[in-house]
Amino acid sequence: MFNLLKARIHHGYQAIHDPLNAAIHPSFPGLPTILRACKEDFCAAGSFCPTGAIGDNSLDLGKCVFCGECTRRFPATFAFNPNFRMASSRRESLIIRWDNQSNTCTAPAVEVNAALKKLCIRSFALRNVSAGGCNACELELGASSNVNFDMGRYGIEVVASPRHADALILTGPVSKNMEQAFVKTWEAIPDPKVLILCGACAISGGSFVNSDAISRDWLQTMQPALYIPGCPAHPLSIIHGLMSLLGRVK
């Protein structure tokens, strides 16, 4: 008993005070920004980007695995900032482009989902389907409910059955062998429901996009409500994305 009390005293209060505005370590590669429009840099970076995320003058956050090669080689053009607020409600706004007129780059944004906000603002139940994920996004999603990040304080929880859920949060590129299970789980969730894609693999196939063991056909027919980039998606990104969707972020 004394051992337990000693351990508890040293454990203290562990929850991050305000996850929506937390400070993250400066070494964290979060939201990237394009610093200038340099065609040569983009061309060169595009040739070694492992997932083809770098285009002519754009960086696709949905494909980016945050390997950091582009910023290491071309620090004058690409910068990754310690900003975990990367989620978006539309796939197009994940593509960061250089805007010649304003001389800056675009950034992803989440639009509040009005129907979801009306029903689930105080109680949001998620159901996870891991379909070919490498287990990193799954561990981060699990960590979002742990004693440090504690997304349960906002009423967001991961539930045990699709029948109890409001949203399906997908991790992984959707392997062929999991496609059926994924579809069945989606159908088992009662309306109103939304689809959330968590991690580069879920959004675009990530490093596995060229594999013939994955099948994203059914997923292409769906309209996800939220995309959370990352490889893996950091728990703060996940929580911020979910709260933005519910309209609870100022």
């Binding site: 508890r8 109680s123 504690d150 929880e157 045990a160 009662p190």
Partner: protein, 305 residues
Amino acid sequence: MIINFLFILLLPLLFIGVINKTKAIWAGRKGASILQPLYTVIKLMGKSEVHSHSSSHIFCWAPSLSLAATFIAALFIPFGAQHAVLSFKGDFFLFMSLLALSKAVIVLAAMDVGSSFEGMGASREISFTAFLEPAFLLIIGSLAYAGGFGTLGQLFLHHRVYIFNEWSVIIAVLTALALFIMMLVEGARVPFDDPATHLELTMIHEVMVLDTSGVNLAMVHYASALKVQIYASMISYFFIPEGMHSLSIIAVYLLSSFGLAISAGLVESLMPRYRISRNLELVIIPLSISLLVLAALIVHNLGGI
């Protein structure tokens, strides 16, 4: 009477909220608000339902019947008031049967779905009930008979903790302990079951409602919270002296419910869950206690050894 209804409607979900908050505080995090179970129930009422192909009409009406039975059973217990809403001589038989009916229909619904682990959860739940019901009947029946009273309400009026009468203390403490254990079992709390578990093969109560959705799920959540609150109320009434002013009764009742919720939360935070095979051994404890209570009553009423 209004107090009764008000508390029956509002307190159960708050009770669960306090248990969860206690767990969160011990864990060192903020945790969901005390009103979270209420928010969840309200949200679920706005969701549609999905029914499995293998389930029948039983699955549709079982949760409503379960809630109705539990609700009527709650009316026999005084919830923060001097008297219960309903009472008549021998009403504890009906009370027990209503709780049993509530459980039976949920078990039927679980088996109706045809899933193997829902069937396992149902069989585990029934095996616990097999030991708890006789214990409950024995305790309440012997208390009622020994006191010469017929109704549950009167029983609570009479058997309070008299500080200067050691037999009453023994009987009250033993009964409270037995009821506390029954509360943990019926409410599917640790160490008998883990309400937060994500392991479907270890679930007892949660697995039975794995396929329920929407309004039915809201009813199931509320009904199980109400069951816990029923037991908590019974324990609370052992601490309310006879002839108290109605406002004081409310205060003591709320305080003791709060204390019981915190105790349940602490038990849940500090004790690990027992193996299911061992749970059956533990569930016999209320039965043993009820025999002790009977013995104590016999000794007390026959004027000592």
